[in-house]
Amino acid sequence: MWAYILRRLLYNIPVYLGIIALLMVALRVNDPVWGFLGKNADQEAYEVKKHAMGLDRPFHEQYIGFLGELATFDFERESWTQQGRTVGDLVADSIGPSLAITVPAMALTTLVALVIAILSAYTRGRLPDKFMMVSAVLGMSISFLVYIIFGQYWGAYVLNDRLGTEVFAIQGYESGLANWKHYCLLPVLISTIVAVGYDTRFYRAVMVEETNRDYIVTARAKGAGKGRIMFVHMLKNAMIPIVTRVMITMPFLVMGSLLLEVYFNIPGMGRALYKAISENDFPVTEVLVALFAGVFILTVILTDVIYALVDPRVRLQ
């Protein structure tokens, strides 16, 4: 297995080199320094900035320099908008808040969606199934923004007002486990409610498809009960699509939820990238996008490894 992982990593090096080249070209098509300084900046300030960033060097030198930064994980460039902070500091500070929201949200969403999906498949075509599926579609049909705005209003503002104490913060973030419930639970619940409808429908379809397989008839003929068939026989067979679904969301764990972080003012990776792009913070944008691409590639490799763990028919070679 390790040989497989190593080989996959090696195969993906050219891919990553290509991504980085494309990224660097894309960010340089419109001069990032002019973009940041504005068209009325004087030529001298422009030259100083450009030289400080090394943007006046030939492209291949910049390319090799950036690859060096990525390889050593050493991002010493200073953010253009946040004076005195290097990109490395920014990443280090942002990743914690992102994970504090995304990891519990994904775990909760997957768990809730799987349980609802299995119950729904279990009662397929009957009232509980219909109720759950209608709820799922209703939940999906409402915009994420509506959940955020009403969540903040009812779940934080009105609730705190009624109870007379601050249960959930309307926005903001403090690190530390003790503060987690106060700042993170509401965003986690909101993102769970948003995602659970999509996931439930997907997992239910997967489970329903499994119910028509021959091995289910064999298991029933053996005398296995419905619960055992659902949770022992079907669930393990359904793991490939489930793993695929969960792993697709993996990169977003690291990159954070852009909307949630912006609206709840949580200083995570998503908000950092959003701010960097909207404020023309060239060094931050470049590094964050490059990291995101790397995380994505690693996720795809990891997914294939997990496939082999859940399905004996998958061989890594």
């Binding site: 091995y215 008839v217 064999t218 296995a224 026989h233 393990k236 067979n237 399905d311 004996p312």
Partner: protein
Amino acid sequence: MSERNGGMKRGEVLLEVTDLRTHFRGEEGVAKAVDGVSFKLLSGETLGVVGESGCGKSVTAMSIMQLVPQPPGFIAGGSIRFAGRDLLSMSIDEFRRIRGNEIAMIFQEPMTALNPVYRVGEQIAEAVRLHQGLDREASRARAIEMLDLVKIPSPEKRVDDYPHQMSGGMRQRVMIAMAMSCGPSLLIADEPTTALDVTVQAQILDLIRGLQQETGMSVLLITHDLGVVAEVSDHVAVMYAGKVVEYAAVADLFAQPRHPYTIGLLKSLPDLAAPGERLHTIPGTVPSAFHFPSGCRFRTRCPLASAECAEREPPLDELPDVGGHSVACHHLKEAEAL
């Protein structure tokens, strides 16, 4: 392996199906896949159920095992008595203690019938654990013992194989091992050899027959292959369009078939003694289960069909001259000339 024949001696009635009706609700109406099937299976014997695709033989087997998907399927009537108990009036929890334990079943497609993500040993052991409450170790030992019983070489190694590491014939042996693991008194085999190579077919049939002789269990063999029936059955039920049209001891049936459909089937067999002859065929196709013809369901394809056949359905009556041979036909005399 515990030997258990439902506490019965050989020759007693182990399974009695009476007027079984299994229907399916479809968009076109109700499909009467099984519509008044009756037969008896004696303890220690093999009953072959033959018929074309869609005649209801598999649905009959699935009905006995209560594996018919509901909805759309439902049992519209009849009774199934097994070792003196009425299976259809039992609760599903009661029946689950019989299913896989006293009545076991093997299927047509060994390639897909096993769960692909569990080791074959675990799948055999599951049945034992469910019904006999053995622990992990004891049930694994039983699984190895069963693999040995179905003549899989080096069973202590094969027990840890996954299904995809085995051939079709091996997988069918695993299915049989699973079915035999609790020592059933009735084995239902639904086309167990159809998906296998001819040489493997013979091995599997021999295996089932050998196990039957060892344990004294009864076998309900569903097949469309008359050769298989002739070889292994004691009695035969010929099904057509959801009904049993002829029921007889195997020797009687092959010596003197009485129903025009059975006669047609036997005539359609290729004759090895006279190669090159054009094969006999029964004209037409099986009618749709949504729209069976009135009266006798075979009349649309029968050379002897008369007005009476359209009006009145012939009952499955025992012949006066041959005991235990029942035929559902209005024209028995004319049929003798076919």
